[in-house]
């Protein structure tokens, strides 16, 4: 057994029990267990306000939300990098950390606000996405070595989306054509679609709620392209993407007369199945559109 790698974990609202991406958390935890990664939740973490918090919250209140999480992490999980599974969580926390480093006044004000609850911000903690941990700290080779049931014969469209990719992205990858998800798909024994042209197309994000027609038109394009390439399923690293691309397919079918029934899973779901975990550990029951081919492999 390899030595445990420890991280300070920021789960985010949508991962909570009974919330929209609770299945992401279950499958990610299974994968971490296989890889010897220990996730220590930030005690009493709060929501980061994502990108949509801008209307209600001004600059400082928004930054302070993330500063509280970083301070709690530094206090309770000292020396551990923060890792987030949600792209929006990762982005807003990392953005806040950088903004505070570069703006002395905002930094002083955020610290003053945190002082109200006796918290201190050092702001020395790296803030990372789970995908970075897998690719950079573990590496493709080790990720491959753990495969017990290669996902042979499954064709997967790797949908990276926006916020895992921009503005920070994964080191060494391009914004227009990141390749890590395709590589991961191949490592797990499935077939990737490197020419999937919608891989970084926006799905509408939070506007899927407030502007459903406009967003669904974009989502339609994302699914259509996957079908055109003969994909069996779509895989994504982002909870908002997953939800948006999966759950509105019936509505899109009604509007456009399409017959979409494309499963959309997390990379962690794929990994958990390939690592020989059962359907429960891979959270396959969390699919609104069942991923039959993965169920088949997990059941073997």
């Amino acid at each position: 057994m390899m030595a445990k790698r420890e991280y300070s974990f920021y789960p985010g609202c949508s991962s909570q029990k009974g919330a929209s991406s609770s299945n992401y958390l279950v499958s990610a935890q299974s994968v971490c267990a296989e890889l010897g990664i220990q996730l220590n939740s930030i005690p009493d973490w709060n929501c980061c306000a994502a990108s949509i918090g801008y209307a209600g919250g001004g600059e400082l209140p928004r930054l302070t939300l993330s500063a509280r999480n970083i301070a709690l992490s530094e206090q309770h999980n000292p020396g551990q990098p923060i890792v987030a599974t949600c792209a929006a969580c990762w982005l807003s926390t990392r953005e806040a950390a950088e903004r505070l480093k570069h703006d002395a006044q905002l930094n002083a004000e955020a610290k003053q606000a945190l002082g109200e609850a006796g918290l201190t911000l050092k702001n020395e903690t790296p803030i990372r996405h789970m995908v970075e941990v897998l690719i950079e700290d573990i590496g493709y080779e080790e990720l491959k070595a753990k495969v017990k049931k290669p996902l042979t014969g499954i064709k997967v469209a790797g949908y990276v989306g926006c916020q895992t990719n921009r503005p920070f992205g994964i080191a060494g990858e391009s914004y227009e054509n990141p390749k890590y998800l395709d590589k991961l798909i191949e490592v797990l024994g499935a077939e990737s679609i490197p020419t999937y042209e919608k891989k970084v197309q926006c799905c509408g994000g939070a506007l899927a709620f407030s502007e459903p027609e406009k967003s669904q038109e974009m989502i339609k394009g994302i699914i259509e392209a996957a079908y055109d390439h003969g994909a069996d399923l779509i895989v994504t690293p982002c909870p908002v993407c997953q939800m948006n691309v999966e759950v509105y397919q019936d509505q899109i079918n009604t509007t456009y007369g399409t017959q979409f029934k494309m499963p959309v899973v997390y990379y962690s779901t794929l990994m958990a199945v390939a690592y020989g975990r059962n359907a429960k550990d891979a959270a396959l029951g969390g699919q609104v559109i069942p991923a039959k081919k993965l169920e088949g492999i997990a059941g073997k």
């Binding site: 306000a49 918090g53 801008y54 004000e109 926006c162 939070a206 709620f209």
Partner: protein
């Protein structure tokens, strides 16, 4: 609200650009735009914007205050950061769009019934209350934002989505009664109260002197 708007009009009579620089998040970057149009071409909902980002920046310089601040353009930003990574001048376009939207809200100039403005405000209120977002309450309050009649219609249209989420245990009806919250709510509220006070102070101060650049 209206008063603040009037005060700002008087204070910055000569330059809307200065007003934006002093009051809008990352507003000091607007002058760096060279009008190449890359951002507008990169915007996923661009075809629905009455003024795409490049045009907004031009209008700010041209002093079209009213048109910019009452526009529903910046409320169409999905925060996809496509523009940001492509802009040759590295203008933080996404943040400026958010900043303009927030400033317009502060001045009371948001277009009536702008759905994203409504959603974003509800999201913020929801999170401030308990420190975490309750997706179900948020959804329900959004569907009913235009009143009971249209709300029921939206809710019915969205019901199959909700049922699918319920079935897979990704949306718990129990959320409506309580739901998730952080433990140190008192500390959380004290922190956020302070942050809001300090923000208000800074804004008041910049209404007198321009904001120093970083």
């Amino acid at each position: 609200m209206g008063d603040l708007n009037q005060a700002m009009i008087e204070k910055y009579r000569t330059s809307f650009l200065k007003e934006v620089e002093a009051n809008v998040e990352e507003g000091e970057w607007v002058k760096m735009c060279m009008q190449c149009g890359v951002c507008s071409g990169s915007c996923p909902l661009g075809k629905f914007w009455n003024h795409p980002p490049q045009e907004i920046f031009m209008m700010i310089r041209a002093g079209k205050r009213e048109e910019v601040l009452t526009s529903d353009a910046m409320w169409m930003c999905t925060s996809c950061y496509n523009c940001v990574v492509r802009c040759p001048r590295e203008v933080p376009i996404t943040h400026i769009m958010h900043g303009l939207a927030h400033y317009a809200k502060r001045l009371g100039l948001t277009p009536k019934n702008q759905p994203t403005a409504e959603f974003a405000q509800r999201f913020w209120n929801n999170l401030l209350k308990k420190g975490r977002v309750n997706e179900l309450k948020l959804g329900v309050s959004l569907y009913f934002m235009n009143g009971i009649g249209p709300g029921v219609k939206t809710a019915i249209k969205m019901a199959p989505v909700g049922i699918g989420m319920q079935r897979t245990q990704r949306m718990s009806a129990m959320e409506l009664f309580g739901g998730h919250a952080i433990k140190d709510l008192k500390g959380f509220h004290a922190i956020m109260q302070k942050a809001q006070e300090l923000e208000a102070l800074r804004i008041a101060q910049y209404s007198v002197a321009p904001r120093p650049t970083a």
